[in-house]
């Protein structure tokens, strides 16, 4: 059995003008077929990492997936390889749901199959009944699902999702995380930014904790989610309980701040 392709990122740096948001960050290897959750407080740089990995913003530092150097991959190929879901939901457009997914697939799939595949993706996320609705008539949650549909439409090998469940209700949340899991099972390497630590613990194989643009910890949920980490990184006193085979994070009170951010 061949080893699954692995995403390796080392020395990743991102600069905004004179400020450096990320400085030589090295991530643990992320294997295809796994779900990695990227967590950390606001402003830690989680979205920045995803955007850098998707090459939406400029960055430096080698990035490889398997034998492939991601930086030298041509734009077209790269867009088929990488699926990205931005944090911002599509706004202010009357494009219908199905059209938005078809656009996301254009160039990657043959034209006559486009529509069927688009419907199939919508089917998978259970939003087919909205296929002909204009995006600006949908609720936030529905739009988030559409955004996800656009990300996964091309069946990418690498999937970077920035808070894919932030606007979703409980049922949809479950549904989406299940889909993400099955995408991983189908062979994708998935990195998900999540705020809900319990959710992350439930669905991710690996947790990466980011703090001020630096890697604080990486490992299994059990290994990483400790009260010590929560106090240190989040500034919160919390209990980490085990309920059945699930880890649950229960915040209690804020740590009196002695340091400034």
């Amino acid at each position: 059995m061949t080893l699954p392709d692995t995403l390796t990122v080392s020395g990743l740096s991102v600069r905004y003008g004179r400020r450096s948001a990320l400085d030589g960050l090295t991530l643990p290897p992320i294997a295809a077929g796994s779900v990695t959750a990227l967590v950390g407080p606001n402003g830690a740089g989680k979205s920045t990492i995803l955007k850098a990995l998707a090459q939406i913003i400029p960055s430096t530092g080698p990035m490889r997936f398997g034998a492939r150097d991601l930086r030298s991959t041509r734009l077209r190929e790269r867009s088929s390889l990488i699926g990205f879901m931005p944090q911002a939901l599509p706004q202010g457009t009357e494009l219908t749901v199905i059209e938005s997914v078809i656009v996301a697939m254009h160039g990657a799939v043959a034209s006559d199959a486009l529509e069927r595949q688009a419907i199939a993706v919508l089917q998978r996320l259970d939003i087919v009944e909205h296929a002909l609705s204009p995006l600006d008539r949908l609720s936030g949650g529905e739009r988030q699902l559409v955004s996800l549909a656009q990300a996964i439409a091309r069946r990418p090998r690498l999937l970077f999702l920035d808070e894919p469940t932030s606007a979703l209700d409980l049922a949809r949340q479950l549904q989406v995380m299940q889909q993400i899991r099955s995408l991983a099972v189908e062979g994708a390497a998935v990195i998900v930014v999540l705020h809900d630590l319990s959710l992350a613990a439930r669905w991710a194989d690996q947790l990466i904790v980011l703090d001020h643009g630096r890697l604080y910890a990486a490992g299994t949920p059990q290994g990483v989610l400790t009260p010590a980490m929560l106090a240190d990184v989040y500034g919160v006193h919390a209990r980490v309980e085990r309920i059945g085979d699930r880890l649950v994070v229960l915040p209690e009170s804020a740590v009196p701040s002695t340091t400034t951010f």
Partner: protein
């Protein structure tokens, strides 16, 4: 197969069928717009004090009948160039407006938002008042050549300035507004030192007039549109993707910087050429895309052609109106497009955003 799967399968089939119907409806709307545009063009051809009816005009154009010499001259030298110019200007400005609204992610963008109209007027006034031509053209082409170059330069300047900042679309608009103010200030200065007759010429030029159309002007504008439009249509997919957000578009593999630059070059060419020969015809570039959007949605494969057709139809209708309002006098087209387009636009907005009963 489970009941749920069957239901899901049925929903999928329904969705596909519904989408096919949607596409069919859009194609029909496009065809309808085309027909309406043709009808307006023919009506424009048949409107005017000289008694040349539409059937007369058409058969004379096709060579089946021959009108009196005076009528032939009127048909070929007055009515036809004006009618063609109306269609070309309307198509150019609204295609430009459609691309601008997408590329700047701003529904209020139109070819003149980035200060083009002021820059073009400035170029024209420099030619009229100071007799200085930036181009090699002289004589009647002096004013048009200047207007064109100033308009083009203003857009490129705005684009260059925006490169120094990070946020793409918003800074472009801000720089465009600033440039518009600057050009307008210099224009006021030139008007101030101008002789009264030059001043009057500047004012007339600014009001926009199709009556200056002759065959060379029509040919130039037709060539520019014929050259630019295919490139616009080729960019339909990337432009549609841009509607989903800058980051999304980049992630889908589209070079948004280049897309924006090329789109603005196309917009510059279309707008600058129109303004150079016809003067400032505002409003069409703003409203026609909105009407098109309401009719066929934002898939640019339909949206761009629809904008083009709606624009052509609008200015054609305005041309007809401008001849009919006051007998003997042709109202400047820029005024009419506003008067004709505004109520229609307001009606459409009200209809769409009506408060639920």
């Amino acid at each position: 197969m489970s009941g749920a799967a069957l239901a899901a399968g049925r929903r999928s089939t329904e969705a596909l069928a519904a989408y096919a119907r949607l596409k069919r409806r859009r194609r029909m709307l496009l065809a309808l717009l085309g027909c309406a545009g043709l009808a307006a063009f023919l009506l424009d051809l048949g409107t005017g004090p000289a008694s040349i009816s539409i059937p007369d005009a058409v058969s004379a154009l096709l060579g089946f009948t021959e009108l009196s010499h005076a009528r032939e001259v009127i048909l070929w030298q007055v009515r036809l160039p004006v009618a063609l110019m109306a269609v070309l200007v309307g198509a150019s400005l609204s295609l430009a407006g459609a691309e601008m609204q997408t590329v700047l992610a701003n529904p209020l963008a139109e070819p003149f938002t980035l200060g083009i109209s002021y820059a073009a007027a400035l170029g024209a006034s420099v030619a009229i008042v100071l007799g200085i031509g930036v181009t090699a053209f002289g004589g009647p082409w002096l004013v048009a050549g200047n207007a064109f170059l100033f308009a083009l330069a203003s857009l490129l300047l705005v684009q260059a300035l925006a490169r120094f900042t990070s946020a793409g679309a918003e800074t472009l608009i801000l720089f465009g507004i600033a440039l518009g103010f600057a050009a307008s200030a210099v224009l006021s200065l030139i008007q101030f030192i101008a002789s009264a007759e030059a001043l009057q010429q500047i004012v007339f030029w600014s009001m926009g007039s199709l009556a200056r159309a002759d065959w060379s002007v029509v040919t130039i504008l037709a060539c520019v549109l014929a050259l630019v439009a295919p490139f616009s249509l080729r960019a339909a997919w990337p432009l549609t993707a841009l509607r989903l957000g800058e980051e999304r578009a980049i992630s889908l593999g589209f070079d948004t910087e280049r897309l924006r630059l090329l789109a603005l070059v196309r917009v510059s060419l279309l707008a600058a050429t129109s303004v150079a020969f016809v003067g400032v015809v505002g409003f069409v570039g703003l409203v026609a895309p909105h009407i098109a959007r309401m009719l066929v949605g934002e898939d640019h494969r339909y949206f761009l052609p629809a904008s083009l057709l709606v624009g052509a139809l609008t200015v054609s209708a305005a041309s007809i109106a401008s001849k009919l309002v006051v007998p003997g006098i042709i109202i400047p087209i820029g005024i009419v497009t506003a008067l004709v387009g505004l109520p229609g636009f307001v009606w459409l907005v009200v209809r769409r955003h009506r408060r639920p009963a």
